[in-house]
Amino acid sequence: MFKRLAEKGPAIAITVDGRKVTARVGDTVAAALLAAGIDHCRTTPVTGAPRAPYCLMGVCFDCLVTVDGVGSRQGCLIPVREGMKVETQLGRREAGR
């Protein structure tokens, strides 16, 4: 869906559901997922429908993911960090995560 204009800037290694993904400095979690061609980042807690980032500006909450074990984080507002563990969130969030 998206490609990088230039593979510039220091690479940052994160994992998405255990899989290695290379992000760049300046990426948000949502942008890193889109750049890696990851199609959806969660399924809804209501019907389980797949969703992906929609607005990339903090409005829609469709970019919710689990980051370093904490669920329902807004991926489009969180900058990536080296070693960050991102997980797609399926349905309702689990309390305690």
Partner: protein, 379 residues
């Protein structure tokens, strides 16, 4: 069709108030074959039915007025049947459950105070003996495995339950609509008179006439009741609630201040404040609720709060229901209480038929007449 006032319409009963008390009563009246109109305020009305905690709750009820315990148990027992009837009519499931509920204590002092309340409650003459036990921390933990280390124990009553109260609100409205009951929003009742054997209700959008009138306007009953020779002293109170995002099920029993809805959200309540300003919210109160919730269930610490709100409780002066019929204006009734979710089954299945017949059934509801305030005042 609902929503449109029709001049010259004749109604058997005008129900004033479109909250849970009003519409449960209206539904019951319609089942009795009455032609019913419900007069309500608009979208921004102060409506406890949109802000309540949704417990169908028994424990603690009746301290200070013993018959209230029996009245509450009656409704609790009728609730399953009530929800089945609603489901048959609308296809909507209000998700009533009665797994037994807890009151959790975070210190020995709180636990002792709790035990004292229950002791005083059960020591009252004429009280129905409903089981509420004090449980130790270990006993609680068997049923609520996720409690935090600060929970020292609590009380448990197997008659306690909960429901999805917003869905109940919607379901009752849906059922009324299907039954052809006339629902008139933005028809705030300004005055009521009785002329030539019928009641005339002046609203912000014209006059409505009916043979009987049931006042179910919450705290506004205080203003309306004297117009038909009734008395309904109120003492409104504000309650604040915090609600989280949807979570996977983790809690099998409602706690008096914390419950997980069938949709997965966790509701955390609920304060008692003297304010009557529904638009105000006190962050410190939400913070206290949140803090206690996290101490009770530490696994909730990272969960997102999506909303807080405050609602004004419909509260009579002594906190107990008021059911009355007018001596001076026969055909006028008051139906007024705080716990409109818990008592919905009674209002629909017990009070409504009495109003349809035209007389309250004294053995059941005489203790709830507002005359009790005058007796006390005289004594």
């Amino acid at each position: 069709m609902a929503g449109e006032a029709r001049a010259g319409d004749e109604f058997d009963v005008a129900v004033v108030g479109g909250g849970l008390v009003g519409i449960a009563t209206a539904w019951g009246l319609s089942r009795e074959g009455c032609r019913v109109v419900v007069l309500d305020e608009g979208d921004r009305a102060v409506r406890a039915s949109r802000g309540n905690f949704a417990l169908v709750w028994v424990q603690s009820k009746g301290l200070g007025l013993a018959p209230y315990a029996g009245w509450t148990i009656r409704s609790s027992n009728a609730w399953q049947g009530f929800s089945d009837l609603l489901k048959q009519e609308t296809g909507l499931d209000v998700s009533f459950q009665r797994p037994g509920g807890f009151h959790l204590c975070l210190s020995e002092k709180e636990l002792e105070a709790r035990a004292n309340v229950l002791k005083r409650l059960h020591a009252q003459p004429g009280i129905v003996d409903y089981k509420t036990e004090i449980l130790t921390r270990d006993q609680v933990k068997v049923m609520l495995p996720d409690i935090g280390p600060e929970v020292v124990g609590g009380s448990f009553c197997e008659l306690d339950g909960h429901v999805n109260s917003l869905r109940l609100f919607r379901t009752l409205h849906t059922a009324l609509n299907a039954r052809g009951v006339t629902y008139l929003p933005s028809h705030r009742v300004e005055s009521i008179t009785k002329e030539g054997g019928e009641f005339r209700l002046t609203t912000t959008q014209g006059e409505v006439r009916a043979a009987k009138v049931a006042l179910a306007a919450g705290n506004a009953n205080m203003r309306l009741a004297p117009m038909v020779g009734l008395d309904c002293p109120m003492k409104p109170e504000r309650g604040q609630i915090v609600v989280t995002e949807r979570l996977r099920p983790f809690l099998n029993h409602p706690v008096v201040t914390l419950r997980q809805t069938d949709e997965g959200t966790v509701m955390i309540g609920d304060s008692k404040e003297e304010s009557v300003d529904p638009s105000g919210l006190t962050i410190g109160v939400s913070a206290t609720e949140a803090e206690r919730a996290v101490r009770q269930f530490p696994l909730l610490a990272n969960v997102n709060v999506v909303r807080t709100w405050s609602a004004i409780r419909v509260m009579t002066r002594d906190g107990f229901p008021i059911y009355d019929e007018s001596k001076t204006h026969p055909g006028a009734f008051t139906v007024c209480c705080h716990s409109g979710v818990t008592l919905a089954a009674n209002h629909a299945l017990t009070i409504a038929p009495m109003i349809a017949r035209g007389a309250l059934d004294a053995p059941l509801v005489a203790p709830f007449s507002a005359r009790r305030f005058h007796v006390q005042a005289a004594g």
